[in-house]
């Protein structure tokens, strides 16, 4: 029963990683909940849960990578992984869609209504007299007080350039892999990671600017809410992407991947491009227009 033939099905043996993952995630989330309820142990529990989650995730992936390197997987498994990654990214797209939806709704509907557009005039005269519809806004109650807008053509434009370039360097690396040229592969990856880290640094700087000098905060009405939630979740995804790229770099250095079989590399590349595209949406709709 253990012929690893070309056309054979492959079923992995039982594994403890899934149940460990569930336990850790639950610890993390219960900890966070307790923290939000101001129960003291919450914080510790949350960090323990986080550490556990990361550790078991790492172990799980390690197992898979090891199996892959032992040639346990065949083309069919490879294809299953591909479909899996593709639909996972699709689900991420829909996650961002919810927040983009909130942004459009606020800009196109709720803010104009509060400002008295169309048949909603009475909303303005009865409840929010004096408020004029505009974007960005922190709402008629001016939540969070006076603030300044995050311009598009400073750091955000630089960030756009960084991410777009990183897309190119990653493609160079991919070509290197396909043509079995290790130099462009390795340096392409290194450049991509560096650009990603640079991006995160700029993003951190930008958040610092926003909080320290612009008085632009998460609590700055619906502008602050959409701004930080969208860029925040995006930043989180860049971070995850950069970590995954680093793992891929180490695997490349160890001689993993062949021009024929390199699902891990491609999956991370897709993910990175997805993060890239989301950023373009952000740049256009959050910063620019």
């Amino acid at each position: 029963m253990s012929s690893h033939g070309e056309n054979s099905y492959y079923i992995p043996h039982g594994s403890y990683w899934p149940i460990f993952m569930s336990v850790s995630l639950t610890t993390l989330l219960v900890g966070f909940s307790l923290l939000l309820n101001e129960v003291p142990v919450g914080q510790i529990m949350m960090f323990v849960g986080l550490a556990m989650t990361l550790f078991f995730m790492f172990q799980w992936f390690r197992t898979v990578v090891l199996e892959s390197e032992h040639g346990t997987y065949n083309e069919q498994v490879d294809l299953s992984f591909r479909w899996g990654m593709f639909w996972f990214i699709f689900s991420e797209v829909m996650f961002f869609a919810a927040f983009f939806g909130a942004l459009y709704y606020a800009r196109i509907l709720s803010v104009p209504w509060i400002g008295g557009a169309g048949s909603e005039l009475t909303t303005n005269t009865q409840l929010w007299a004096g408020f004029e519809s505009m974007w960005p806004t922190n709402g008629p109650a001016e939540l969070g007080g006076d603030y300044k807008i995050m311009g598009a053509w400073g750091l955000p434009a630089i960030n756009t350039a960084l991410l777009l370039t990183s897309g190119v360097t990653l493609t160079i690396a991919h070509h290197g892999l396909l043509e079995n040229h290790r130099k462009p592969l390795i340096w392409g990856l290194v450049a991509t990671i560096l650009l990603g880290v640079l991006f995160m640094a700029c993003q951190a700087l930008e958040y610092y600017e926003a909080y320290a000098h612009l008085n632009l905060k998460l609590s700055t009405g619906v502008y602050g809410s959409t701004f930080f939630m969208l860029t925040g979740f995006h930043g989180m995804h860049v971070t995850i992407g950069a970590i995954m790229l680093t793992v891929i770099l180490f695997r490349v250095l160890r001689g993993h991947f062949t021009p024929e079989q390199h699902f891990g590399f491609e999956a991370v590349a897709w993910y990175w491009h997805f993060v890239d595209v989301v950023w373009l949406g952000l740049f256009i709709f959050v910063y620019w227009l």
């Binding site: 209504w113 048949s119 909603e120 909303t123």
Partner: protein, 278 residues
């Protein structure tokens, strides 16, 4: 014999379903159906409701009829041999197109009624309604009644609710308030609806008026009441623990009685309301 029994059972099942469907109509007078109401709109809505209902009944008769026929006669126990057909483009097209046409026939009157409901043209008076956890506030915004404003909350005694007193003698159990909203008949009344905390919904079935009271926003609706009377409704959006206990009562009076009521609202009351407003 066995066959006869099973057939009788099946027939009675058909009859039962038919009965269930028609009781809804037959018992219309006994509070089983949507009330016709006392406004032009509510009557239109009622007619629309009955129209769709009967269309559905008609479709149901055809669909269930074919099904029961086949279940009665096309069974193995009767030695019926299965046919082998499994496809017919023509039939498929027919039963795609016919429902589509039926739907269009429903959509036209529905759209007309909807447009009529949404036409908030010039009105004779405006009342602002604000939802609170768990009561309503009414403010008359213009005309002679301008400045009249009061809260309206449940007046059913707590003892009746928790069973310490007999509730069965109270025909308006849970549907009575301390201060009812008084409105004139024959006037186009515009309502401005909002909330001070969570979402509520203001609903009087007899007017076919239901809309959400959303905090921070004003929703508009209107009605013209044809007949004087007392009309009762309830909050229709979950708003917390006493959502079931914030009824709405409207007393519609014809012109002279309404004016009398207005003058009864002594200056003192108006004054009181004004102070409250501030």
């Amino acid at each position: 014999m066995k066959k006869l029994i099973s057939r009788t059972v099946q027939l009675s099942a058909v009859v039962l379903v038919a009965l269930l469907l028609t009781t809804q109509f037959a018992a219309a007078e006994y509070g089983l159906n949507m009330p016709k109401g006392v406004t032009q709109i509510s009557n239109e809505v009622y007619r629309l409701h009955m129209l769709i209902f009967w269309i559905c009944v008609a479709i149901a008769v055809v669909v269930y009829g074919a099904m029961f026929w086949s279940m009665m006669f096309h069974r193995k126990s009767r030695g019926f041999k299965a046919a082998t057909f499994h496809h017919s483009t023509l039939v498929e097209i027919v039963w795609t197109v016919i429902p589509f046409i039926i739907l269009i026939a429903m959509a036209i009157p529905a759209a007309k009624t909807l447009i009529a409901m949404e036409s908030t043209g010039s009105s004779d008076m405006t009342v602002k309604i604000t939802g609170y956890q768990w009561k309503w506030r009414y403010e008359y915004l213009d005309g002679d009644a301008k400045g009249v404003s009061f809260f309206s909350s449940l007046s059913t005694p707590l003892e009746q609710i928790n069973g310490d007193a007999d509730r069965n003698q109270n025909p308006n159990y849970l549907l009575e308030v301390d201060n009812a909203l008084v409105l004139p008949t024959g006037k186009k009344i515009r309502f401005l609806l909002t909330s001070s905390d969570v979402i509520h919904a203001w609903w009087i079935p007899d007017f076919a008026v239901k809309k959400d009271a959303v905090p921070g926003f004003i929703n508009e609706m209107w009605t013209v009441i044809d007949t004087p009377g007392v009309y009762r409704g309830q909050c229709a959006e979950l708003c917390g623990k006493d959502h079931g206990f914030m009824p709405i009562v409207v007393i519609a009076k014809d012109e002279p009685e309404y004016t009398a009521w207005l003058s009864q609202q002594s200056d003192a009351a108006i004054q009181q309301a004004k102070i409250e407003l501030e």
